[in-house]
Symmetry: C2
């Protein structure tokens, strides 16, 4: 199967949700983004953000984690139905990432994916490039992250 047969263009697919605990936020940020508002709850209260919040890169990484868990379940479901799941390859990159608002400790982010486009890579027969709108909203329905990803697909 191809992605575009499985997921109609422009139809938003909910991938799952991710809870950002204070511990996870601090652990990630200590390794990669040790700014006061990501590692120190007290300093964060007095920052522009007003509270401990996740590194933007952590919000990205949790999108990936949520997508992969969704995808593993989808592949299982399709195989059970006797279908061959699309074969996805690596991503060459993405466009226009926006962090709209902070992800605070205790926030639950629901991630989604919307297939925007799927087309043959001119130079390489049997390879498609899928364009996927990736989004995350918090428990209040407010958008926190959005980016447009490219993913290779082997047809």
């Amino acid at each position: 199967m191809r992605m575009a047969e499985l997921y109609p263009i422009e139809q938003k697919i909910v991938l799952g949700s991710h809870l950002f605990t204070a511990d996870d936020i601090v652990r990630y940020a200590r390794q990669f983004d040790p700014q006061p508002f990501h590692v120190d709850p007290e300093a964060a209260r007095h920052s522009l953000f007003g509270g401990l919040c996740a590194s933007g890169w952590h919000t990205c990484a949790a999108w990936m984690k949520t997508f992969l868990a969704f995808w593993a379940a989808e592949c299982l479901r399709l195989r059970k139905e006797g279908k061959v799941p699309p074969e996805l390859g690596p991503s060459p990159g993405f466009r226009d990432l926006r962090w709209f608002r902070p992800v605070f400790a205790g926030d639950v982010i629901t991630y989604s994916a919307t297939l925007l486009d799927s087309r043959e890579q001119g130079s390489r027969p049997g390879r498609l490039i899928d364009t996927i709108l990736c989004e995350g909203i918090n428990q209040n329905g407010e958008p926190v992250i959005r980016f447009e990803s490219k993913v290779m697909e082997f047809a």
Copy 2:
């Protein structure tokens, strides 16, 4: 001081280097991007990549880590010279991220930043938006990552 007084527009600044060990690659990927070529050296050898390589999100996160270490040292240097370092705020996002080639276990990535533009945010006096080209090359001088970041600056 303002960023644009400190770093001439279009001048590339080397931030530092980051070694991607196999252990670090696997540890990051197990948490956020558990695809075979990121977590299993044997499976990775038989993959499209031909060897264990870092999650693209790990390559991003290491840019941030390297930038923050550079920035802490810069602030210290400026204060020693009696100067007031630019005050950077959060990033609203970035554009056009490209992962050009895999970052393999043992690769050393040298990250750089190039200030492309710095301008007043029309709506908010005292706030600038800096546009920074962020790049990473491996030990062979080959580009592995590039993206264009926006960062808030308080003037």
